[in-house]
Symmetry: C2
């Protein structure tokens, strides 16, 4: 009988983690009792037996196998987090926020990184579902709501971060894009800039990009009513078309007197692309072209004269997303919510037309 092996000197193999059966045996009770002790400590329990079980558990350093529990319960204490690209600092900050919230609630995050490959969305959902994750936090490209829809079809609750899908009745957590953009525009105007260019990844129906772009124009219009000189255009520029960006910036610089041209970027990666382009064009941040970018990063203060940014409360976004999900996992079913968090302007040299060069 296998069982006896457990008491043998056991050669050099690992001490074979204790199971509920082991605990039951050494406590002299049934498995059911041990399980009850674990899951229904409050109800049904004679003091005597309870302590015997407790002692046995401690002695064997027993802890239940989440895999077995998952199999039996159909729940796994696992939450799936799908991100478009871990290389993006935004995703990492999200992860950290979500992780913290999950940890407190006893959940573990399974991360699936799309590595910017949309095609893997379905795969991500399927894979994570197979591992019995109880719900999803999605921050994917999601040109359609496909991934989210699949998740829902699997019967798992979903929270969307940053990318909205209006046809899906799910929780949605995001930066208040409209407000954030207003912060950027108003700040630039106040600093004397009047000729603005919004540089974004190709919009392609991604909600965040749409919202930011339309907000950009709305606030430009708004400013125009008090100063007709103020104008704004959009440049959609894929990341592999550096020349296109160069051309856009060159034109911007040429078309506006010194101190009037400014760029607003849609995220940290785009900001860096603009910085790179300006370096190629030998244009100076702030002095030649102003810049405010969405997303704060560690390095923003030290690039050129310092990058002015709209900081997203990224960790918060992750935390709130996780908590909303966990709430639903606990059985609550509030109507789908939209939670928008405000951004914060951090003003640095790149939005001062008289900015000194740093270092």
């Amino acid at each position: 009988m296998k069982k006896n092996l457990k008491n043998a000197p056991a050669s050099t193999s690992p001490p074979a983690k204790a199971t509920i059966a082991d605990v039951a045996r050494t406590a002299g009770v049934s498995k059911a009792t041990v399980s009850r002790f674990l899951n229904h400590r409050d109800t049904l329990l004679s003091k005597d037996i309870a302590t015997r079980v407790e002692v046995a558990i401690a002695a064997l350093a027993y802890s239940p196998s989440p895999m077995a529990q998952a199999l039996k319960r159909g729940r796994s204490k696992l939450i799936g987090l799908v991100v478009a690209d871990v290389s993006n600092p935004f995703s990492v900050a999200l992860l950290r926020g979500a992780e913290k919230a999950c940890q407190q609630a006893g959940y573990l995050i399974m991360l699936f990184n799309l590595a910017d490959d949309d095609a893997r969305e379905q795969e991500a959902i399927e894979t994570l579902s197979a591992y019995q994750v109880e719900g999803f936090i999605l921050n994917t490209l999601g040109h359609d709501g496909g991934a989210a829809a699949t998740a829902i079809r699997h019967g798992k609750p979903v929270v969307l971060i940053d990318r909205r899908h209006h046809d899906l009745q799910v929780d949605f957590v995001s930066l208040d894009n409209t407000g954030a953009m207003r912060l950027a525009i108003d700040h630039l105007v106040e600093r004397g800039f009047s000729n603005m260019l919004y540089v974004t990844d190709p919009i392609k129906g991604v909600s965040t990009r749409e919202e930011r772009e339309s907000a950009f124009h709305r606030w430009i219009l708004n400013q125009q009513s008090s100063d007709s000189k103020i104008v704004g255009r959009t440049l959609e520029c894929p990341s592999d078309k550096a020349e296109q960006l160069d051309e856009g910036l060159r034109a911007l610089h040429a078309s506006a007197p010194r101190g009037q041209a400014a760029v607003v970027t849609s995220n940290a990666v785009t900001s860096l692309r603009v910085v790179a382009s300006m370096a190629r064009l030998k244009l100076r941040l702030g002095m030649d072209i102003g810049l405010v970018g969405i997303d704060e990063t560690d390095w923003a203060p030290y690039v050129g004269p310092g990058l002015s940014t709209i900081a997203q409360p990224t960790g918060e976004l992750g935390r709130i997303a996780a908590n909303s999900l966990i709430e639903r996992l606990k059985g609550q079913t509030p109507p789908p919510r939209q939670i928008l968090l405000s951004g914060e302007l951090i003003s640095r040299g790149s939005s001062r037309s008289d900015a000194p060069s740093a270092n």
Copy 2:
């Protein structure tokens, strides 16, 4: 009987993923046969039955539950990756490399982020073990080899990245720290710098830090033999002691004529701290103090006059670590290996004493 429910209209609940039993039933065979079809397609299989099973699987869109498989086999197709801090770009690059390799081999990575809290090391190992990960890739602080040792005690193979533990007989993958440091020193000397300061996180017995620091001094000594003017000191500086760093840099700058003082940093985070400190001191990168930092990043080209760096092949490190592990999971047991990869010098303005300010 529960089973019958499956054929009922099933209200609005999810379509309840097909199980092996469902497949067996619709194919008119036993579960064992389906399992065989899945796992031993080559051997034992009558053409007729094989196709019936195949059809049924397709029809039901069946795929086996990894959880159940894990429970039965004791193997899960999961690999645990423990990183000290996901915020560190190094960790992310690692993750991406490892992820890719794992994906190709059909493994999934479970990430556990210590968030720089050493105390959670054991927890990480225990948690991941409980989820039946088959092996570990560890990039932790690991002041002792505790975590790795625990993993090994659990009987799971381990690969260490970047942090070595000599007493542990496991695979180890890392940058060739000695070679990397030589690249840095020789480059700085060639550029005319002679008074060097190595800025590092507190060494505290972390192998990488020790190796880099001692290599720093070795190559300084080596250069000294041809030019006695060349000197080097170490500054161990915890991240919450900015004044200490300021003081160190001030002293360095004061003690050396223009164009002679240079700093070497131990990683990207430290580089940024040095950049911040210099900004506070109003010192110019390159001109006042030279800088070469280990770790290349997206933003390195655009900070000040551009940061000179020693780029680690980070993705490669992750890939190799994953592959080594997978090899062992497949049953091979080569003796423990050390794999050291070379760094690459990327020279920018921060190591030119006549560097122009950027932007």
